[in-house]
């Protein structure tokens, strides 16, 4: 059960110095606050579901709590939003696409939880152990998919990056040569003379960008087409496949109270809250990249190379997440199996 969770990157002894060496209270307060809020909301759920048995109004409270829980739950850095954001950055996606991806994957995640509990617990009356086994299998598949997805991104983005490098190198060499030639001419003059070299670099890179746009790195316009959506579907599927342990617990509890529908409603509202937060983070990621593109594109030469590098890095992150989660180096929420 609960497998790799403890195999954290830098495992320490159970009595390790982490506490003694002191986590200094700084920005971490936000994380702490998020944590305590989530558990607060989560803990209120069981009592509210119980109350809903006799008092219909409690269902509204339940939905409110679930929504808040979803928002807070997703605000902590988790693999879902990390993968989605990295994917968006790697793939020149639009913010709008990011929002759609976030909602779709959260919806899928809720759906998987409901179907799983509906089929396993309700129809088959399976034990928690069986359900947990199913959950873990789904989890492994989901992580493997993220890794595969990341590998594919790295492959394509790596190609783009290498090509950008190749285009860049001769231009840079020329730029360096130019700078050498004019080295003795004083700073101001040097700077001035240098400008054409920069322009050349930018021009080359721009050409390259256009070329790439058609064969390797799709522009946002293209992604909005049918092929683009299919690609996005991969991300939705990989991330949304794995249900949230919290949702499973809530659903089973609601089922036992004879209020399965309330659990289902809570799960979808939770998903809605999660989607809002993930979408916000995705939009920030996309905007950050746009900002980076503008900065590197206007001020400096080699902007395209740089952006290919960023995309390559983001693709690498997706792969890293997948592999890390798969082998338990990155502990996401553990699946409850005891």
């Amino acid at each position: 059960m609960l497998d790799g969770a403890v195999h954290a990157l830098m495992a320490q002894t159970p009595f390790g110095g982490s506490r003694a060496s002191g986590a200094e209270p700084q920005v971490g307060g936000v994380v702490g606050w998020l944590l305590s809020k989530q558990s607060e909301f989560y803990r209120e759920m069981s009592a509210t579901i119980r109350a809903a048995k006799s008092d219909g109004h409690a269902v509204w409270t339940l939905l409110g709590i679930s929504f808040a829980y979803g928002i807070f739950h997703a605000a902590g850095p988790g693999h879902g939003k990390a993968v989605i954001s990295s994917y968006l950055v790697a793939n020149q996606e639009t913010a709008r696409r990011g929002v759609v991806l976030s909602f779709a994957s959260a919806l899928l995640q809720s759906l998987v939880a409901v179907v799983m509990v509906g089929v396993c617990a309700w129809l088959l009356n399976a034990t928690a152990r069986t359900m947990c086994g199913a959950e873990r299998t789904i989890e492994i598949v989901s992580y493997a998919l993220i890794a595969a997805f990341g590998a594919r991104l790295v492959w394509t983005k790596g190609g783009g990056f290498m090509r950008a490098l190749q285009v860049q190198r001769p231009a840079l060499a020329r730029a360096a040569a130019a700078s050498h030639d004019h080295a003795g001419h004083g700073h101001h003059h040097h700077h001035h003379e240098h400008a054409p070299a920069h322009a050349e670099v930018a021009h080359l890179a721009h050409d390259h960008d256009e070329h790439c746009g058609h064969s390797h790195g799709p522009v946002p316009r293209e992604l909005a087409g049918p092929g683009g959506w299919r690609r996005g579907f991969g991300a939705i599927f990989a991330v949304g496949l794995r249900p949230c342990s919290g949702a499973i617990l809530v659903l089973v509890f609601a089922l036992a109270q004879g209020l399965f529908w309330a659990g289902v409603a809570a799960t979808f509202v939770m998903g809605l809250g999660t989607a809002i937060t993930v979408a916000a983070i995705a939009v920030i990621a996309v905007s950050a990249k746009d900002l980076a593109r503008r900065l590197s594109g206007t001020k400096e030469g080699g902007g395209a190379l740089f952006m290919r590098g960023v995309e390559f890095g983001a693709a690498g992150l997706v792969l890293l997440f997948g592999v890390g989660l798969l082998f338990g180096y990155l502990a996401a929420e553990r699946v409850t199996c005891f």
Binding site: L2, A5, V6, A8, L9, P14, F15, G16, S18, R19, G22, A23, P25, V27, G28, V31, G32, W33, L35, Q38, S39, Y42, S46, A47, R50, G76, P77, G78, H79, A82, S86, V89, A121, N125, A126, A128, R129, M131, S245, L249, V252, F253, L255, A288, A292, L295, S296, K299, E300, G301, F306, L317, F321, L330, A331, A332, E333, T336, C337, F338
Partner: protein
């Protein structure tokens, strides 16, 4: 290049930190356990092991009992819960039973659990099990901590009789220290812990510390 590169590198680094921090922040508790523990002494005054009784929270109790066949609906016998208890202790092994002991500063190991069983009381599932020490010890000071390093399980000791000594020499004194208020501790979770990607010991700040001193 300098400025833009640095700015974007900063962005990338924060993304990486976010990635590594993933485990930390997602690890909010999903299971709440109210524990009470007994330290078992043998006649010569050595400690032979720890006997736990862990009461699971409402939601998790219901989840764990899902699908378990019983003769009478809603009434669970020890036998009917036997397989689940077996699963529990087998699974807990991977986590060192969330129980960490030191005798005069030296880390002690536990054997496989014995006398384990489950019962349901007022709808809540209670797991009983005894962890014998590999070898009984007779330290001046025994420190016992019960916590989940990854904070998936939140341990709280019972208000009444959180810790008891069974058969201990009369001179032994037990001191029980609860974790400070959870929120305060959570807020002490610094940037450092966060960016380390090290969530292995995250729950340590929520540890319940038991100290027994026998002069």
């Amino acid at each position: 290049m300098g400025k833009a590169i640095r700015r974007v590198l900063g962005l990338l680094l924060s993304a990486g930190a976010l990635a590594l921090g993933a485990g930390v922040a997602e690890a909010h508790p999903h299971v709440w356990i109210t524990a009470s523990s007994e330290l078992i002494y043998v006649p010569d005054g050595s400690i032979s092991g720890v006997r736990h009784a862990w009461t699971f929270d409402d939601m998790f109790s219901t989840y764990a009992l899902q699908g378990i066949e019983t003769k009478t609906q809603g009434v669970y016998s020890r036998e009917e819960l036997g397989p689940l208890a077996q699963t529990n202790v087998e699974s807990l092994k991977e986590f060192g039973f969330f129980t960490f002991a030191r005798a005069d500063g030296k880390k002690e190991k536990f054997q496989e659990p014995v006398d384990y069983f489950l019962e349901v009381k007022d709808g809540l599932l209670i797991l009983h099990f005894t962890l014998p020490l590999k070898t009984p010890v007779k330290p001046k000071e025994l420190a016992l901590e019960v916590f989940d390093p990854s904070f998936f399980v939140d341990f709280k000791f019972a208000d009444k009789d959180p810790v008891r000594l069974v058969g201990a020499p009369a001179t032994c004194q037990v001191n029980f220290q609860r974790p400070n208020d959870g929120t305060v501790n959570a807020q002490a979770l610094g940037e450092q812990t966060f960016t380390n990607g090290d969530n292995s010991n995250f729950g340590a700040m929520f540890a319940n510390k038991i100290t027994v001193t026998c002069p």
